[in-house]
């Protein structure tokens, strides 16, 4: 008795949120060589920004002036969340944008103290930044301090059937995941992506080729942190709640394991890593169902295996399951090689687009150019 739809609905959002995080980390560590051990900080910023924005807008739209973390606000939100579909959707989109901007800005600012130091210091600094943020958020009253927020309006709260509501959310996360993936692929397979890889290989040599290394690093932290912020916002809309204690460093390490296992410097690999980990997580839970009273909790064994796998992968297959590929730009065409894997897909989309356009023009009675 395995209900595939309900499994998809419950598994996919969390998977795709982690996949987005893994993609961000992959851009940072896989392409640029920046050891971001504080990923969770930007994830948290996105989450809080989304929670704060959506609650505030909703309550003020309906003319309530409760503090957004109060019990009244939570109960009110339960009543008003499903009333105005357009507001839900627009607040959702606005929150995603704001989450991107604020988290990105935080990433950009954090890059400053770390521009001159190596990966070890960068790692510790951002790791500390994450912890600092968590302690700070516990005191930050506007987002409820240690209470956190509850009752954040689901973008599809107006759909009465929970299954459809969640399916819609799955579609939204899928679309965002695909968009993020395409954006990062475009970025990676461009002269910019080449510059990123040169920084990873040898910062100094890259600098000597005129690449503004610190600026590129800061830019990349902006983009990757911003996208992690989007992941945080999605997480908040999925859970409907946010609290500072959700964003512990363990989350960062989990995402790291995904990227290492899947393949550094390969966006498909990052997604594959997220896939493996999220499925493994569910699979170990099932072990508990089969063997009811184990001497050692399967979770411990799963983590021990994860630890060993990381080491084995680094030793025998340092590039991960899916190895890194060359930067596919048009330059390869000059040497008679196909430049992009997904060129064919783009071509197909273009053809389809052309036909659709033609059909549309035919329908509305206009001449196609």
């Amino acid at each position: 008795m395995f209900d595939i739809v309900s499994f998809l609905v419950s598994w996919f959002p969390i998977f795709s949120i982690y996949a987005i995080l893994a993609l961000c980390l992959n851009m940072e560590i896989g392409y640029t060589g920046m050891a971001n051990f504080g990923l969770v900080a930007f994830y948290a910023i996105g989450a809080f920004v989304a929670g704060y924005t959506s609650m505030t807008i909703f309550l003020s739209f309906y003319g309530y002036n409760y503090p957004i973390y109060s019990l009244d606000a939570i109960i009110t939100m339960g009543k008003i969340a499903g009333r105005t579909p357009w507001l839900n959707i627009s607040v959702f989109i606005l929150s995603l944008i704001l989450a991107f901007l604020v988290a990105g800005l935080a990433g950009y600012l954090v890059s400053f103290p770390t521009l001159r130091v190596g990966p070890a210091f960068l790692g510790i600094t951002i790791l500390s930044f994450g912890e600092m943020l968590r302690v700070f958020m516990k005191h930050f009253q506007p987002t409820g301090g240690s209470y956190g927020l509850l009752g954040i309006p689901h973008p599809f709260a107006w759909v009465s059937d929970p299954l459809i509501k969640n399916l819609l959310f799955v579609i939204v996360t899928l679309v965002i995941l695909i968009l993020v993936f395409i954006y990062f692929e475009l970025l990676a397979n461009s002269p910019y992506g080449r510059a990123l890889k040169s920084i990873r290989e040898d910062e100094i040599a890259s600098l000597c080729l005129g690449k503004p290394v610190p600026r590129i690093k800061a830019e990349l932290l902006f983009v990757a942190s911003g996208v992690s912020g989007i992941a945080g916002a999605l997480y908040v809309f999925y859970l409907g709640s946010v609290a500072p204690d959700m964003f512990v460093t363990a989350v960062t390490f989990e995402v790291w394991s995904m990227v290492i296992l899947g393949g550094r410097g390969n966006n498909m690999g990052a997604i594959l890593g997220a896939l493996i980990f999220s499925l493994l997580n569910r699979a170990t839970a099932i072990l508990n169902f089969i063997f009811l009273d184990l001497l050692i909790d399967p979770n411990y064994i799963r983590w021990m295996i994860t630890g060993i796998l990381i080491i084995i992968v680094l030793m025998y297959r340092p590039k991960g399951i899916l190895a890194e590929k060359t930067v596919k730009t048009d330059a390869w065409r000059i040497f008679g090689e196909a430049q992009r894997d997904w060129d064919r897909i783009t071509a197909m989309i273009q053809v389809a687009n052309r036909y659709l356009k033609r059909a549309f023009h035919w329908l509305i009675g206009r001449e196609t150019k």
Binding site: G33, R116, P119, G123, P214, W256, Y300, M304, G307, P318
Partner: protein
Amino acid sequence: MEVPRELINTTWYTCLYSLMAVPLTLSYRTSKVLNFAHGIYITIGAYIPVFISRGLGISVSPIIAILSSFTAGAILAMVSHLAVFSPLIKRKATPVTLMIASMGLWIFIKYALYAALSILQRSWMTQLTYTNPNIDIPSSISFMGIEINARLLLTILLVIVVFTLLTLFLMKTKTGMAIRAIADNPELAQLTGISREKTLLIAWAISGGIAAIGGFAWSIFAYVSPETGDNLILQVFACSVIGGLVSLSITFIGAIIISSAENLLIILLNRYFGVELSFRPFLSFLILLLTILIRPPAGAGGGLPYRYKITGYISRLLRRREENV
């Protein structure tokens, strides 16, 4: 006369942090591995006396506890070097790769410890998380009419003895000098005929062992849980970063700074600025961030080994705007 508790705590924390952070700096300096598994050496060091005293049902003499902690930490560190870091270094792994490997090692040992604890708890019928080892120390000793906390005294003695021995070892013995040589210039050291592998192994053993002694010191100070090392590791990193991950003596000063910030500065901030007590962990991270901002350890950890004007970009933007006007 009564000594204020803040000062006692500061002293105690200085001892603990220095015992934990100095070996971290040492291992980073020699092997260029930023070791996330360092926290687990501390935890293991704290658990060894617990295992002995609970397993045998006796109270352990401090000397035996210290030695066994040291041995366990040293063995663990040597095994992690031999099994993980050394093969990776041979494969020309980058510092980031080594850091990730240490993360994997940390995850593995931590959950292996959890698994071991869950078995031991069942077979010994006692709770082993959040516990204290049974160590044979009087609670206080009277010295010339002054009551002194024997555990604090032992910790201070431990710090003095450990660091004296460490200094002597690094300065006077051949192996110690080899360790320093490898830390300062690996290529040159190898040319002079120092066996890199052997020296690194000894350096690892020492750093793991001292970290485990730090764990022991923790176990007589507070309670022990499988998360002990992890919960302390960021503060320990902060101490090491103040030392630039290079200097052992500045790392010690870093331990003093962090412990004073956590025990004294927070009190001042509370009294004069009304900063809540729960901001305590915030302070140590803030200090770490400020250290990196104000005195960036250029070149350390594989960064750019030269000045780079951060303001370059902004000032260029401004200049461009002026030109446009």
